[in-house]
Amino acid sequence: MAQVSITVNGRRRTAEVEPRLLLVHFLREHLDLTGTHVGCDTSQCGACTVLVDGRSAKSCTIFAVQADGSEVTTIEGLAKGDDLHPLQDGFWEEHGLQCGYCTPGMIMSSVNLLEDNPSPTEAQIREGLDGNFCRCTGYQHIVNAVQNAAARRSS
């Protein structure tokens, strides 16, 4: 067992974990933060995307011990109280989700995307979300959602 200390959504969490424990399972099963989902086991789908030290990362591809000392933000940590993050609002406004399973990962990747490029073109959004699968929406409303959020952020 190994001790990890990870700041998750602003709160420091310390635990004894198996060295092989994936970060996503640490979040879901040790901290009950079940908004981060598991959609594959090969790092393709991006449903498990969180921010590690401000950068999007697939939490199924990181051991909890590798995140020791990091700051992690999950979908639960994005809204400020009752105020949704612009991307959360954008996804709601533009019907950017159906079943909602890929949505937390899609939003976390989009947060990183807009940090890097506050006013992306449609093609840049599509390329930027290359690591996130959605089987429901055909992505068009997701693109609209990111554009909507970009406009909110800049206004």
């Binding site: 594959c40 090969t42 449903a47 019907h95 159906q98 992505y139 693109v143």
Partner: protein
């Protein structure tokens, strides 16, 4: 004078979804999020051979692990769990949830572990050692149907799950007598016949949430609660109760948030039976969560049908006859609806055309592959693909515009309801209208000029067009062994808020929103005052579920009818309070008042309160405002549309780019166009995926070659263009809403229109057909003279 209503009418509006605030904040509860005190975890040991007899299973190492509670082999499970039932009347081989003797596909369960946590359960499953006496495997259905090199089920000669079934012109309703004379004459009279063997390849549904189940048998009460990622909790309850020897009153099935289904979560799977049976046996709550690699093996696949298509026509382009010989590879076993799915391909062979003579035949074949069953469209995309590709080949042979050929053969708009050669009764349609709209939106003639100009520059650009009609709103009970109705209960609560239940259990369709829109309008109350409950047999008294694009057409209608009953009763209470005639009352802006004098009315909440404390009780009324309705449609609905695509193939790499996709879909009346667009987008993406990049593949030894997202591609955002949608509206007479259903539409027109566009782009190379998927290697070889 009455003032204009303050509350806007919501039906037909692009209302933002009620479901989304919880989902965008990670507050949805999917089945793997369910935690119960004392919860144990199950993991399955699965066969890694495609066909073989189990010589021995050594569970010793697994049982010795810390944290392992129990290990069960198939033989042990069979002592207390009957074989899996199916939902079709076809003969079916015995199918154990966990194999006892012979395994027939890679991924078939052979043992199950119960452990304290997920990781230990997996470790223990991996530690089980199985010794197999391997047998030859067969993965090609046309080989399997010779009975060589192996017979998969002893009682099914030549691996025929369903021996040849004829249908269409000249076939008696019982299928026993077949008169080919009309069809033969059509082909004898034809100026031209096009013939092609086509493969509608095997696909993996891949809902982003894999399957999962939690079962909690409570010994003290003798009841069981089962949470499952399912499209139909009521059907799940029926089957789980039956196999556990329990009454339906003793089992509660819950579909929490369900992360996509696409037909694959209609089935009742072995894991659901085993986890519930073990929970009961061990007296413990138990969870199993499928991982993605398991899902590729153990969740049903879709499609996998070979079609031999022959179309007979005159030189002027009038189709005289169609033959469609179908060979469906159903994999190793019959699941819930497996055997019935390809019959829908036969049913829809008439497509949108007035074809006077049709002969279809269907043979279903067992192979050593994962079982197939319903996947978005379920039999209808296959029919559309075969017929539309055939029509495109005919247009090319006749050197006729593909749109013009369609137009010459449409069932005319004035001939509905129209009984097809296949026995379907199309409810309503105006196919020429959808075609014209699509041609106009695409700028068809301009596109043809663009294509020709691009070709003159040496670019490989092509155009494709496809019509579709599908069978939706399933369906009368005669067509569904589970029953084809839907149920709803609508309650006006004592405070005037509205609670409603629906048996149409959603997994992304947004019923909480669309159904609330309907009730808000029906009662003239704010949208925020209406709540829709679903997905829990403890709350929703009865139901069938969500599949076959039936939520709105069947479930929505049941809701509407239940609402109408409550409204009628509430009007009687209001009439008593207002000393007015109930037929003079209007429900508007949260008030019930006499038409034309809103100031005289009572608030909705006041009338509700009176109905629950009815002093005095009006004559003939009982207290309360809660009514239910079952709705059984008299017929299916038949939505239709036209899809047009433009593609370009890179001459150097063979890579196909989809430049444009123009869709006109007619689903009848629409409740929420925003949600409808989302449904069509998603369907298009799956159809485009099938056309371009998706295919489940097996080696000749039955080993899956597409066992993860590393090998099985689904569309990413950058693979798709911005879709150009439009709608025509031809209401159905089958239900009072006029709604036809839209969940599957996108998968129908997209595949043939893209393949036809690719063939068009490659027409300079003498190509008349290319089977899906259109992977670059295949196209490159056509361009560069190799074998495709």
């Amino acid at each position: 004078m009455s003032a204009a209503p303050v509350l806007p009418k919501l039906v037909g509006e692009r209302v933002k979804r009620r479901e989304d605030p919880r989902l965008v904040q990670g507050h949805g509860t999917y089945v793997d999020d369910v935690k119960i005190f004392g919860l144990r975890h199950a993991a399955f040991k699965r066969s890694d051979v495609a066909h073989g007899r189990i010589r021995s299973i050594d569970t010793g190492a697994a049982e010795a692990m810390d944290g392992v509670e129990a290990v069960f082999t198939g033989t042990q499970i069979a002592e207390f769990l009957d074989p899996m039932p199916i939902g079709t009347p076809f003969p079916s081989p015995e199918h154990r949830a966990v194999a006892t003797d012979v395994v027939r596909y890679v991924g078939e369960p052979v043992a199950v572990v119960v452990a304290a946590d997920r990781y230990t359960a997996r470790d223990a499953a991996d530690a089980i050692v199985v010794d197999y006496e391997t047998r030859p495997a067969v993965v090609n259905p046309e080989v399997a149907m010779t009975g060589h090199p192996t017979v998969i089920h002893a009682d099914f000669d030549n691996n025929l799950a369903v021996p040849l079934v004829p249908s269409g012109t000249g076939v008696s309703p019982d299928g026993k007598t077949v008169d080919d004379s009309v069809v033969d004459k059509a082909f004898a009279d034809a100026d031209v016949v096009v013939s092609q063997r086509m493969v509608n390849q095997r696909l993996a549904p891949t809902a982003m949430e894999p399957r999962g189940v939690v079962a909690h048998y409570e010994r003290g009460k003798g009841t069981m609660t089962v949470w499952s990622s399912t499209q139909n909790p009521h059907i799940l309850r029926t089957f789980v109760a039956k196999l556990n020897g329990m009454g339906e009153d003793e089992v509660r099935a819950i579909a929490p948030e369900v992360g996509g289904g696409f037909g694959a979560k209609i089935n009742i799977y072995g894991e659901e039976y085993v986890v519930s049976a073990l929970s009961k046996r061990l007296g413990l709550p138990l969870k199993w969560t499928e991982d993605r690699s398991e899902a590729f093996l153990a969740t049903i696949h879709g499609r996998d049908i070979i079609g031999y298509v022959d179309i007979a026509a005159t030189r002027a382009g009038k189709v005289l006859g169609l033959k469609l010989r179908l060979i469906a590879d159903v994999g190793a076993y019959n699941m819930l609806l497996t055997a019935a799915i390809p019959t829908l391909t036969m049913l829809m062979a008439n497509a949108t055309y007035d074809i006077p003579a049709i002969r279809t035949t269907l043979t279903e074949v067992f192979t050593n592959k994962t079982p197939t069953d319903a996947y978005r469209g379920a039999g209808r995309p296959e029919a559309t693909y075969f017929v539309e590709r055939g029509m495109d080949m005919l247009a090319r042979r006749l050197d006729m515009d593909p749109a013009e050929l369609r137009r010459r053969n449409f069932i005319p708009a004035d001939r509905f309801p129209y009984k097809t050669q296949m026995g379907a009764v199309y409810d309503s349609g105006d196919y020429a209208k959808a075609l014209d709209r699509a041609l106009g939106n695409a700028g068809w003639q301009e596109l043809q000029r663009e294509r020709d100009a691009a070709r003159a520059e040496g670019r490989l650009v092509g155009l494709g067009l496809a019509m579709y009609v599908e069978v939706c709103g399933l369906g009368p009970s005669a067509s569904l062994p589970t029953g084809g109705w839907e149920h709803s209960q609508v309650t006006v609560e004592r405070d005037g808020r509205i609670s409603a239940t629906t048996g149409a259990s959603p997994h992304g369709q947004g019923n909480e929103t669309t159904f609330a829109q309907m009730l808000a309008d029906q009662f003239g109350v704010p949208f925020e005052h209406v709540r829709i409950h679903h997905g829990d047999t403890g709350v929703v008294k009865q139901g069938i579920g969500t599949f076959g694009s039936r939520s709105q057409a069947v479930g929505g209608t049941a809701l509407h009818l239940a609402g109408a009953k409550v409204r009628e009763k509430m009007a009687k209470f209001a009439a008593a309070l207002l000393e007015a005639h109930e037929e003079d009352l209007v429900f508007e802006d949260g008030r019930i008042s006499v038409q034309g004098s809103p100031d005289t009315g009572k608030s909705f909440a006041e009338v509700a309160a009176y109905a629950y404390v009815p002093v005095p009780l009006p004559a003939g009324l009982s207290p309360g405002l809660s009514e239910e309705a079952f709705f059984e449609p008299a017929n299916n609905t038949y939505p239709f549309g036209c899809h047009i695509s433009m593609v370009e193939i890179d001459r150097d790499t063979g890579e196909l780019a989809l430049l444009r996709l123009v869709a006109v879909d007619d689903a009848g009346n629409l409740i929420n166009p925003l949600i409808v667009e989302g449904q069509i987008h998603g369907g298009l993406a799956q159809g485009i995926g099938q056309a371009m990049i998706e295919e489940v593949r097996y080696g000749g030894d039955g080993q899956p070659l597409t066992g993860s997202f590393m090998d099985y591609a689904i569309p990413r955002a950058a693979d798709l263009p911005r879709f150009e949608l439009d709608a025509t509206v031809t209401p159905t007479p089958v239900n009072p809403l006029g709604a036809k259903g839209v969940g599957e539409a996108g998968t129908l027109g997209s595949t043939p229109c893209i393949v036809s566009a690719a063939v068009d782009a490659l027409s300079g190379f003498g190509v008349t057909h290319v089977d899906m998927m259109l992977r670059p290697e295949k196209l490159w070889q056509i361009i560069h003279g190799g074998q495709a």
